[in-house]
Subunit: 231 residues, 2 copies
Amino acid sequence: MLLNQRFYEAELGRKTLSQKGISEMITVAIVEDDQDIRESLALLINGTPNFSCVGIYPSFEKALKGIIREQPDVVLMDIGLPGVSGIEGIKILKEKIPEIDILVLTIQSEDQVVFDALCAGACGYLMKDTPPAQLLDAIQESHSGGAPMSTRIARLVVESFQVTSHSNLTQRETEVLTHLCKGKSYKMIADDLFISEETVRRHIKNIYRKLEVHSKSEAVAKAFKEKLVNL
Amino acid sequence: MLLNQRFYEAELGRKTLSQKGISEMITVAIVEDDQDIRESLALLINGTPNFSCVGIYPSFEKALKGIIREQPDVVLMDIGLPGVSGIEGIKILKEKIPEIDILVLTIQSEDQVVFDALCAGACGYLMKDTPPAQLLDAIQESHSGGAPMSTRIARLVVESFQVTSHSNLTQRETEVLTHLCKGKSYKMIADDLFISEETVRRHIKNIYRKLEVHSKSEAVAKAFKEKLVNL
DNA sequence: AAAACCATACCCCGAATGGGGGATTTTTTT
DNA sequence: AAAAAAATCCCCCATTCGGGGTATGGTTTT
């Protein structure tokens, strides 16, 4: 059977890791609404040396109490849960147990979901098609202070740092916007750029038109969100 | 000279393979000022099937022309380079060849350097103590659209998404600040929170005092930079 | 050469903002 | 129960800001 086949391969992989000297017992809790996946995961974890599943739950509501009691090292959390969403669950859990490592394991890969999960406090993000051996590695990695992510997710996260967004602002306008983002007033910007306050006003008018905003705070907010400036 | 010899061989190798139409070959360039490391890396890469080193350079200045000519798939880049820094180099390279994957390989692990490198356009960040096998995996991973990072770096990156900073703002003040960060006016905030504009004004006065700022744009800027709000 | 764009600068005016007071009620902490 | 903190509301006033014009000189594109 395919499932058992996977487990077997995974365990082979783990043996290799064991030989490398990784020998701490890692306790894991699972929050996953699909029964098959949930139980497969539990089998995988309990069937692997140095891994122990200390709780399997079909929803966050049912998980919270047990997780607080068991204090597992790592929680495998689905996102698309009934009732309290995985994202909300992560927030709540991290508030109760700040040092816990929450590893998202889901089929959802929309950018916003990924970022929401990480903002909420997840330490890693894996797609459900992750092979068993890699999943075990990822749990280990989470517990070792890492942040395992599926290939595409990792790139997504890294690219979020890059200022890609080319607005249609001119160089001077970008310069003025940068000063706005430092909280400067018209007058201060004028002094910094050695131009008249009226010119600053003119640039800002154009910036507002191009960004479709109507105030400094809105412009600053947009600049930060869309990474229009290099501070 | 050894360097030229290797370089020559590398180039020959690549051309031959290209002619044969073998496309899974990953071409790599190395920018690293330490000669020992540089040559070890080249040996490792050239000694591995499907990897080919198509240029090794001791500085960015010496690398730029060759990299543009060779168009390698992946560049292994040190940060602490003489002359043009690795960070600057990444920016320049990504501007010239946007699709190139730049993998930082360095001993520096200060948070700011890591973020600077990623902002500049690096697709991954490895410490120099990465074992050879993992380094090769990381190069492969970079080329497959991933973002390989050393354990600690990955966690650092993921944690950067989390709103850790607990300011001394009250709940209501944080709420008001959140609305400011959406670019709302006093009046709009008052309407949203069902309180008078005067109360909004009062909250904002207190926010300014606590954040030590004197305008909306400054407050918004600080809120974004220190992740005081959950947008 | 004409047109378009950019950076510069000025005027007017009403609305929004920031800083200074003071005050009451509710909630939380001690 | 008392004290402290938080949230609510009000007034005054000078400054800043946002939107509406207009204009000139320089560059770039067409």
